[in-house]
Symmetry: none
Subunit: 137 residues, 4 copies
DNA sequence: GTGGTCTAGACCACG
DNA sequence: GTGGTCTAGACCACC
């Protein structure tokens, strides 16, 4: 599982963690029952404050995505995948809709917005494939 | 000019003001040289604190979108439109791109994302036309 | 007499007027007894608010630089020149000293400051002579 | 770092803070990466309102002199020194030039102005050395 | 009337 | 603990 933290992207760090872990579960990258890295380990790996990781775990626990196994660590809940799949849709749609509505409300033409959208999608794909190439060479 | 303030939409109020005023200038709703409503008036109209409005104006002034005329009020800078048009593009694209990339990174298929996008656009248009109808009846 | 008003140079407009009129008296450009332009005329000529001119005159009157002649206008006080000459020194020295002290306090070397000073003097002279040439051609 | 606040010296307090912090960075008294005193601490030390300090920081942040580290404080930007060195020159020169030009425009002889300038420099040095003596005795 | 500054104090989010 | 936002209200300078 690869987690990407961007300070100052608007979302607090713990929130970014929560989202990405949910998404990983939805995607099947994290499987029910699987034990995830400890607070200590994650905080070291991501170079962020342990409290921040703990807070993310705490929220995930409250939403029954993970549960703690005494003396072992945190594990993905058996029934988490269902929640996460629908959560993912909601969370992503929320953000997208906010952006779209702001744009249209501000007077941008739908067609211009579509172009902007396609550009974003294309950029993502080229970024990804180029960095993949980077790893291969 | 109609400004819409949504507390707790993530963006601070003064920031929402800044964006919307820039957009209004970009759109031509606010014209260079035009004097905009006073701090006191806006704050009353939007039911927010005058200092919050002042802060937005302060930022707009720093970015040379408006300038203050002593004893008169704030006016749109002559050359503001250019900045605002490109700013609008940037600001909207930033948000959209953030949302798009997060979605794709999380494993959502481009086609699903496109559907989501079109749904947002459609929702906006139906919302708008229905509220327009509301005004007519 | 040529008055130069610069909005936003830090000093309020009426203050700029007061200073420049005092300086003109000190320099002998305005002579004791001489009647100066009316509020209305000055405000039109300088494209500023009449109240602003009036406020400057009011302050000059309080400092006995000018006095009002009923039905005629404002005239320079007979004994004004003395005040103005010493005032000029004080006012100019104040500003200069403020600037110098700030610079030295901030760690600028005296020699660098001297260079900066001479540059300012030279710039002024070249500006002036070039604009004089402009008038001659 | 010693900051000196003078209420009513013409410049607003937050502006004085901005200038002095930039100057300190330019001078190398504040180093890139270094965390500066917190809003609360500075406000207590200078006996001014926290919001006033915050406003200064806010402006410094906008000019990329400092950046905020969540939960830690404000730190000097890595590349700030360059900006600050040139900023310092500009800010000081602006003030000095304003004073010089006003003096010359008002008819003061360059030589008189030079004398005035040297007096200011000398005064500063004697002030400083006498207050240094004061600390030693 | 206008904007600008400053104070005071509350609340929140983050680490 | 940190900074960020918002509210409230006062006072000032300027036009």
């Amino acid at each position: 599982m690869q987690l990407v933290i961007e300070p100052n992207n608007g979302l607090p760090i713990y929130e970014q963690l929560v989202r990405q872990i949910k998404f990983a579960v939805a995607e099947g990258v994290l499987l029910p029952g699987q034990v995830i890295p400890s607070v200590r380990e994650l905080s070291k790996q991501l170079a962020i404050n342990p409290n921040t990781v703990a807070r993310a775990f705490q929220q995930l626990q409250a939403e029954q995505v993970v549960h703690s196994l005494r003396g072992v660590g945190m594990a993905i809940c058996p029934k988490a995948k269902g929640h996460c799949v629908s959560d993912r849709r909601t969370l992503l749609a929320e953000r997208l809709t906010t952006a779209v509505h702001e744009a249209l409300r501000s007077g941008l033409e739908p067609q211009q917005l579509r172009d902007m959208f396609e550009t974003s999608v294309t950029n993502f794909q080229t970024d990804r494939s180029s960095s993949a190439t980077e790893n291969t060479r």
